[in-house]
């Protein structure tokens, strides 16, 4: 091949549409068709066993040796080569230049009716035909309408014509005339209402909708790809799901009724009726949109035949695709099937021999029975057209033609395509590659293909797609493009090549040869697996190495390394079919045939083994003795799963969400891979605690994920790249899953274990590093977050008391289960304080989980025990972490969530801590607000502005006086209630005056502190609770005193008289004084 020429010629030669190819290219790439059926009726799978070559068909049918009126249908699957064959017939006919035979070949060109008619009118034979100008204007007129308008016109025409049909049927007495009238008038009216709905119209106008299909037959600018599409409605166009039905909720009542009927039509019976009915309007719609009447087209052809008759000529009409005439096809058939003899002799029309291409489906559905019965012959082109050398020749001719310029082809054209003059392009690239001997006797180089590659690649296609068109578009063109423009990476990933059952040892050799160069590995695996024999063989032929069935020159020409496979001593007799071997074409040659089904490529029989391989064989033999051979079903399962992996390596997305089928095997294998890594890596060596590990396991994250996986992409700590190395490892787990049923007990498992062990050794550091997250060396912040969270909890529940700074907190507290308590019932903290603590303790079991983190993360695991209540704490690490937490002063910003933190279970601690820390300010302020009234009351009661001015004596004095006060009340029957617990309160005060002063001092300091952490620490000991007895007294006593005064006043008021009115006893005093004097005198008397 000559790449330089190929670059300019590839677009000209590699055309899937035969008609657009230049004649010389068409002939240069033409491979004789040898498998044609000649049939009398249309059969999908002909029972006929006799094949005819294209030449035989040409001579016996197309050339019309009997000069008969005939109508021949050429049918086959899309891409089978109908157009190619018809064009070859046309070329052959024209080249023979048969006297008085006009050969009209109508290609589908732009595949539209307009284009088709234009082709017809441009034919030289009918230049002088009457009314030609009128016809031409008619066809040109349709081109001015833009796509959107024309599509909407097509759509509107349907309901107009349906309405018209209903109107007419009302007037008709006998309504049974219409064989397609399966719908009731009610349904027809509902259908119109349904079609008129905007949403239904939008759906019909979509790219893959029925209107677009019909439009493609009307307009030349359609983007519709499938040229064999039938321009009509199909059953899926009327399939509606619940969502679409819901959208029609506000639609017309009739439209809704129709939609309901469609929605409930599970078996499609009703929809089939609707489709049959509406498709009866396709032709009228097309005709109206094309401004043609059915009679017009028939008239055109009748005029053509008459014109030719006038000229004394007959007509051989070759139509590539009858669907191009959709809308007027019945008129066309009428015109063509009308014989020139018998009752039609008076019409003076020429004899017409029609060779018409169509698909089987179109013929069955769109040909009326009267037309079907009048078909003279059917030429069937089977799908699997090429067999044996034909396929190689097909490829070889295209590869040869792209390397030939027009000038190179000129002599051959001038020789009227004589086989002996067929030009062969000089081999600029492709030395050492396979060649093929063609039916024309020429030996053509297949570069960039090998015969094995051709067979393998075609085998990978669906059987229904193994047609020239698809082989050309799916294999030849992309691979040639890759070889021309991307030679350094050929065969590249862009080709999406797939190798279902790569040879494991070969792949290992390749990986060993290429190291980490994934591109190289990929290329070599594809090359050896698809182009080569997919076997780990290296044989010497002459002075050449044949590695994996490919000449070493092939590797060199593609700048690929020579795979380091030990040479195998073998005799030439044992050499398998070598890709470089050249064999002359023989119809009976025993070449590999294209498989009938998409069966994985089977590798060729193993060659003799090298010494090292023999060692491996010995091992394998050992396992062979231990384990039975895998069942076919198991092998197939493994093969299918491996295909998925192969596709993944080639760039496809991999489905890991499914639990069933092959994808289920993949997801299970991935799970097993993860489980294996969890169990095999000594996590403690990487300072990853059991706690941390359990969090990964319980998270939605996997330890290892696959690149480009379908679900949870990014939810993995370590991504296995879609490369061959990963493929090799992953396949081990597929076998572990399927062959060993989640054990290593299967044949060859020792190799898999070895592969996995090597891989584990390579990746475990990376995995551990990924698991440890962003913080790298040292403790992970989530653990510090947990410590901080636990610390806050302990501050709140009073575990950490009498501390003025975090630095005073000791590590023992974090391992004491006793401090897991909630607040005591008599606590006097503010509501926010209690709520925060309650949230920490109760919400999601946060406190317990946090403590578990603290304990488990720093637990030095002893032996194999993973679940224990006895902890051996890594004191150094814990102390380090605790110190770091203390240094943060519990500032929220110090516990930011690492950007790459992906484990929800770890992230939780950051988030929970953030939420808690965010509330600390509020809690501290609220606690201060709660405490301030206590402090104010105390200071006011003792008339001091600082607690420093209060002494224990003052407190004791107060307590004593309070006691006396209450006693005085009782003793003096003052009508004031003395609280029952007053004595207890007073005694509490008397017993702890020092503590009370200390508590007030704590509160006073906290109130004046702006740092929330310090405030919380201060209030951690619940100083308010300490001052409650004295505060109650301070609060109650003024009230009691007021009540006493009130009571005393009342009593005074109740005395009821003015003390001034009472006797002053002056008279009595006088009397008594007199008596005293008398007594004095009396004594004197004695």
């Amino acid at each position: 091949m000559n790449s330089e020429i190929a670059k300019s010629r590839i677009s000209e030669v590699m055309k899937v549409d035969t008609i657009t190819t230049e004649q010389y290219d068409f002939m240069a790439t033409h491979v004789p068709v040898t498998k044609l059926y000649l049939l009398n009726k249309c059969e999908d799978t002909p029972e006929e066993t006799t094949f005819y070559s294209e030449e035989q068909v040409y001579q016996n049918i197309v050339r019309n040796p009997g000069d008969q009126h005939q109508f021949v249908i050429v049918y086959g699957a899309s891409g089978a080569g109908k157009s190619h064959l018809i064009r070859w017939f046309s070329t052959k006919l024209k080249s023979e230049n048969i006297e008085n035979e006009s050969v009209i070949f109508i290609s589908r060109n732009d595949n539209s009716l307009k284009g088709t008619i234009r082709q017809l009118l441009d034919l030289p034979e009918i230049k002088n035909m009457p009314n030609r100008d009128i016809y031409k204007r008619l066809t040109d007129a349709t081109s001015v309408v833009n796509e959107n308008v024309l599509k909407r016109t097509i759509y509107a025409k349907f309901h107009i014509l349906i309405q018209d049909s209903i109107d007419k049927s009302r007037q008709s007495i006998d309504q049974s005339d219409n064989p397609y009238d399966e719908l009731s008038n009610v349904d027809k009216k509902r259908l119109i209402a349904y079609l008129k709905d905007d949403r239904v119209e939008e759906r019909a106008l979509q790219t893959d909708g029925p209107v677009s299909r019909i439009y493609s037959k009307l307009a030349g600018n359609s983007q519709y790809v499938d040229r064999d599409t039938i321009a009509e409605f199909n059953i899926s166009d009327f399939a509606i799901d619940g969502r679409f039905r819901q959208r029609l909720a506000d639609s017309d009542r009739k439209a809704q009724a129709f939609a309901d009927k469609l929605a409930s039509d599970d078996e499609g019976t009703f929809r089939r009726k609707v489709v049959r009915y509406i498709n009866t309007f396709v032709s009228p719609v097309i005709q109206q949109c094309a401004n043609l009447e059915p009679g017009d087209f028939e008239q055109i052809f009748t005029d053509i035949r008459k014109e030719l008759y006038k000229q004394g000529k007959n007509l051989t009409l070759l139509i590539e695709d009858i669907t191009s005439f959709t809308g007027v096809d019945q008129s066309l058939l009428n015109a063509l099937m009308t014989p020139h003899t018998g009752i039609y002799a008076s019409e003076k029309m020429c004899r017409v021999s029609s060779i018409i291409g169509t698909t089987t489906v179109y013929f069955r559905n769109n040909f009326y029975d009267n037309h079907k019965m009048r078909v003279t012959k059917f030429i069937n082109i089977p799908t699997n057209q090429f067999s044996g050398n034909g396929l190689y020749e097909f490829v070889g001719k295209y590869m040869n033609t792209v390397s030939l310029t027009h000038d190179d082809l000129k002599p051959w054209i001038e020789s009227n395509y004589r086989d002996s003059d067929y030009p062969v392009a000089p081999v600029v690239e492709g030395e050492g590659w396979d060649t093929v001997y063609c039916s024309n006797g020429k030996n053509l180089n297949l570069y960039p293909f090998t015969k094995k590659a051709i067979i393998n690649l075609v085998n990978q296609m669906q059987p229904s797609q193994r047609t020239p068109r698809y082989i050309l578009s799916e294999i030849l063109e992309p691979i040639l493009q890759d070889a021309i423009y991307n030679k350094d990476h050929f065969p590249s990933k862009a080709l999406h090549l797939s190798l279902a059952n790569p040879d494991r040892l070969l792949r290992r050799y390749i990986i060993n040869t290429c190291g980490d160069n994934e591109d190289l590995v990929d290329r070599l695996i594809n090359l050896t697996g698809i182009w080569g024999n997919n076997d780990h063989t290296c044989i010497i032929r002459g002075n050449h190495k044949i590695i994996a069935g490919l000449d070493e020159n092939i590797y060199k020409s593609l700048n690929l390394p020579i795979i380091d496979i030990p040479e195998t001593n073998t005799s030439d007799n044992n050499i398998p079919t070598n890709s470089n071997s050249t064999s002359k074409y023989s119809p009976n040659s025993d070449l590999p045939s294209i498989a009938e089904d998409n069966v994985p490529v089977q590798k060729e029989p193993a060659l003799e083994k090298s010494v090292s391989e023999l060692d491996e064989d010995n091992k394998e033999q050992e396992s062979d003795q231990l384990f039975p051979e895998l069942s076919t079903d198991t092998q197939n399962k493994i093969a299918k799963a491996q295909t998925i992996i192969e596709d993944w390596v080639r760039g496809d997305q991999i489905n890991i969400a499914s639990t069933q089928g092959e994808n289920g095997i993949i997801s299970h294998a991935l799970k097993n891979l993860n489980d294996y890594l969890y169990s095999v890596i000594n996590w403690q060596c990487y300072s990853i605690s059991n706690d941390e590990l359990s969090r990964f396991k319980n998270s939605s994250y996997r330890l290892v994920g696959l690149e480009n996986q379908s679900k949870g992409n990014g939810n993995s700590f370590y991504i296995m790249k879609a490369n061959r190395h990963s493929q090799e490892v992953f396949e081990c787990f597929i076998r572990y899953q399927v062959a060993g049923k989640e054990t290593w007990k299967y044949r060859g498992s020792e190799n898999d274990i070895y592969t996995i062990s090597c891989w584990t050794y390579e990746v475990k550091n990376d995995i551990a590093k990924a698991v440890k997250g962003s913080n790298g060396i040292g403790m992970n912040t989530y653990q510090e977050a947990a410590i901080a969270l636990d610390m806050v909890r302990m501050i709140l529940n009073g575990t950490i008391t009498a501390k003025t700074a975090l630095q005073g907190i000791t590590e023992e507290a974090f391992f004491d289960d006793a401090n897991m308590k909630a607040l005591p019932s008599n606590e006097k903290h503010c509501k926010e304080w209690s709520q925060l603590l309650n949230d920490i303790i109760c919400k999601d079991n946060m406190a317990v989980n946090t403590r578990k983190v603290v304990n488990n993360c720093f637990n030095l695991i002893q032996g194999n025990v993973t679940n224990t209540t006895i902890f051996f704490i890594n004191y150094i690490d814990f102390n380090k972490a605790l110190r770091r937490v203390k240094n943060t002063k519990l500032q929220a910003e110090a516990f930011h969530i690492p950007d790459n933190e992906c484990v929800k279970q770890r992230k939780n601690y950051y988030e929970q801590l953030q939420k808690v820390l965010d509330r600390l300010d509020k809690v501290a302020e609220s606690e201060k607000k709660t405490a301030i009234p206590y402090l104010n009351r105390f200071q006011a009661a003792f008339e001091v502005d600082s607690i420093a001015k209060i002494s224990t004596e003052m407190i004791l004095d107060f307590a004593n006086e309070a006691m006396k006060f209450y006693n005085t009340i009782i003793e003096n029957n003052v009508n004031v209630n003395v609280p029952e617990n007053s004595q207890k309160q007073i005694l509490n005060v008397k017993h702890a005056p020092g503590k009370i002063i200390a508590a007030y001092r704590t509160i006073e300091n906290a109130v004046n502190d702006s740092d929330p952490t310090s405030v919380l620490l201060a209030f951690s000991s619940d100083p308010i609770n300490e001052i409650i007895p004295i505060d109650m007294l301070i609060t109650a006593l003024p009230e009691k005193m007021a009540n006493v005064s009130k009571d005393l006043k009342s009593k005074k008021d109740n005395i009821g008289f003015d003390p001034g009115q009472l006797s002053n006893y002056s008279n009595e005093q006088t009397i008594l004084n007199t008596a005293k004097k008398m007594l004095a005198n009396y004594e004197d008397m004695q």
């Binding site: 009397i1071 008596a1075 009396y1082």
Partner: protein
Amino acid sequence: MITDKLRAAQQEIILTTEQVSEFRNKETQHKIDLNYTEEVKTAYSLVDLIIDLKTNTGFTVKPSTLSQIKETITFLSNFNEKRHVDVQTLKNGKDLMMSINKSLETEWKIYFTNSMSSTLKTLVLIQDITDKDVANYISDISNGKEWNSSFDSKLNSFRAMKSANDIIANLNINDEVNNFLLKVSKNRATLADLTDNVMKWVQENHLKSKIRLSF
């Protein structure tokens, strides 16, 4: 400071309680006061009595009783416009007075007996043999015997005694006569007791028919 307020409150309670206990209602207090006044007057009367008795009868109160009287008067003097007499105080005062009265009753009895017994005895012996109204004397004297008798009764007792003593003196009754009369009054007199001196005294006073002898 709250401690000071507590102290003040206690004082107020105590004071008010006192006031409340003192300042009963007007009627009650008035009654008490009337009793008190009566008690004061009684005390005064007592003092006046003992002085009068001293003056008129020679009755002298013992020093201990006198101290009691002084204390009682002092006790009763311990009331003023701020310190009113209460029921208890009054009772205490009355008790004191009762105690004094008991003491004086005893003392008076002794003093009265000592002063009156000889006279009375004699009056009893002679009441049947004399034409004088001895019985009235005896009655008068006896009327002042009790401490709770009025001062006039007491004073009449002593006056009657004086009059009786004059009558007795006029009868010249010596010891021998007196002994004879005593035995006659006890129905134990014998003829042997009717001595000459006795017969002489009988004749002189014309008492033969008035003296009866019996077995």
